[in-house]
Symmetry: C2
Subunit: 334 residues, 2 copies
């Protein structure tokens, strides 16, 4: 039985969608036990609307909530009875294998490091969302946890990301690339130039060299390594360009009677195609390299994404990802 | 009369589209005189296909061509008779006001600094392409010329970009923002944190704070300031996500008979809408802060983009952008 703590209070649609997602996960995956962390009376009232195996969802009371705009370090330090701190403590104590939250990114990143703690040898735990591509999905690592990273951090990101893609996403021998401004080895800023030869030396990853941002949506690599500032820009621009273009396509279709009729006819097929470019179906972003697992789902997650994030945690636990990361770090030291 | 040198030999569709673009510019803009730089016999043979005022296009012979894959510093140093070096020398000597090329980006950036030279006081000349947004167009500055920039460089980028948008693109009081990973002032990497307060102090620009990458396609600012590595990632990801989504939309429309019929009906309206998201209609990317003007157009430029780049140079010259940049730098020193 994989035990997963879920933050019932964080996210734009909390608590209803968080609770609904937990119920959906329990109803679809037999091997999972869930701790719903949040204000007891609120969570219970939400739960009463659903039908599920009552033995597999447990409510854990947490009277406080960390708001997204709160300074994260302070919030984690002071709000000891918040859903994020209580949920992460369940992981720390080994009572839960993972913690899923759609709440404050900052608080989740800080809490992951301070409460759950890093695996010995991991220098910085990266946030690694899956991003959609023409060919499926790629792991973008790092994406917000550590700005101003050093080359050794990026090498660890490459290793951890490769393990994740191979064993959770089942991509055989995943192609690892570093984000760069040209395909040639001599291109790049100081960080990339220093990191490139180190990645080339790694025998436990399939390093294919530099990737230009243009090739990312075309599925040019499975693990996209970069420092967090660049990763954050990539993730958010992906969303921004995607949503802008889709809204422009919709608007374009509404400009004449002829195009409106056409729009009705293409809608079903188009919806299906664009669904494959929707990140939410792949679950949340794991914070890798921790003693346990913390997954950040989108702030605007609905039940389906919450369910997918929970199911992602099951694969993570069952595949022994953290044990594999520890092993890889030991090989690195040799 | 504004005099513009055009590289007839650089670009995927050179010489035919470069020559055609020059002819279109002369035929549509009365105040322009063009030097077509390249292999004389090749250029003349292309020109013979067109009708135009022969007094306004002059062929300047250059026997060599710099290929895109050549190391730029070496190429600029050794190929003295290449179209890029000859064209830039025309600007240096004051015989031309501007130089337009679709050739090797690296050689254009190096040549701009080494041959044309910087305006006194400009620390680094940024490459500043226009990118399409929902609301029109924004200037992305810097985008490939200088990696590992310092805060003082970014402040100059903001000033020069603001002048360009106000006087060439006619955006009144352009909103200047710095690319960041959150909207709050305390967010960011070391470079952004150091630059932010310096931008706040600038009295000659309308600084609106940080911009997250998500807001760029929505038109969140007119001048988007960032260092070149991040700018390059933004520019190329824009292209990548855009082309991926458009090809997915097209593929989605071809999946059933119903959607194929719908596609025929929406096509004209959609084409019109997506045209506004096509960067090529706005011309090329100026390399700002030089003693003259160098404009890099896309490698895959066709005649229309070449023409637009030439017309952009006319506005640059007529509006006295370089004089305004010099003035701004003098005010800065006070």
């Amino acid at each position: 039985m994989v035990k997963i703590a879920v933050d019932a209070m964080g996210g734009d649609y909390a608590p209803s969608e968080m609770v609904a997602g937990a119920v959906e996960a329990v109803n679809s995956a037999p091997g999972v036990h869930i701790f719903l962390v949040g204000k007891e009376e609120v969570v219970n009232s939400q739960l009463s609307r659903h039908t599920y195996d009552k033995g597999r969802i447990e409510v854990v009371n947490a009277k406080e909530v960390i708001a997204t705009e709160e300074p994260p370090v302070n919030a984690i330090r002071k709000k000891k009875d918040s859903s994020i701190v209580v949920g992460m403590n369940l992981v720390k104590k080994g009572q839960a294998d993972a913690f899923v939250s759609a709440g404050s990114s900052g608080a989740i990143l800080v809490g992951g490091q301070v409460i759950v703690g890093r695996i010995k040898g991991v220098e910085r735990p990266p946030l690694a969302p899956l991003i959609p591509t023409e060919k499926g999905v790629s792991l973008l690592i790092d994406c917000g946890a550590n700005v101003d990273a050093r080359p050794s951090h990026l090498v660890q990101f490459a290793r951890m990301g490769s393990i994740y893609m191979e064993h959770v996403m089942k991509v055989k021998n995943p192609r690892v690339a570093i984000v760069n401004i040209g395909a040639e080895e001599e291109k790049g800023n100081a960080l990339v130039k220093e990191t490139f030869p180190l990645l080339k030396e790694c025998k436990d990853i399939h390093f294919i060299g530099s990737i230009e941002a243009r090739e990312i949506p075309h599925g040019g690599a499975d693990v996209i390594v970069c420092e967090a500032f660049v990763g954050n820009v990539i993730l958010k621009l992906y969303e921004g360009v995607g949503s802008t273009l889709i809204s422009m396509v919709k608007r374009g279709m509404m400009t004449s009677l002829q195009s409106k009729i056409g729009a009705l006819l293409v809608k079903p097929a188009l919806k299906e195609t664009l669904k494959s470019f929707d990140a939410s179906q792949y679950g949340g972003a794991p914070l890798l390299g921790l003693n346990g697992l913390v997954v950040k789902t989108h702030g605007n997650s609905k039940a389906n994404e919450v369910k997918n994030s929970i199911i992602q945690c099951i694969a993570f636990k069952e595949q022994g990802i953290n044990e594999k990361i520890k092993e890889s770090l030991m090989n690195q030291e040799k």
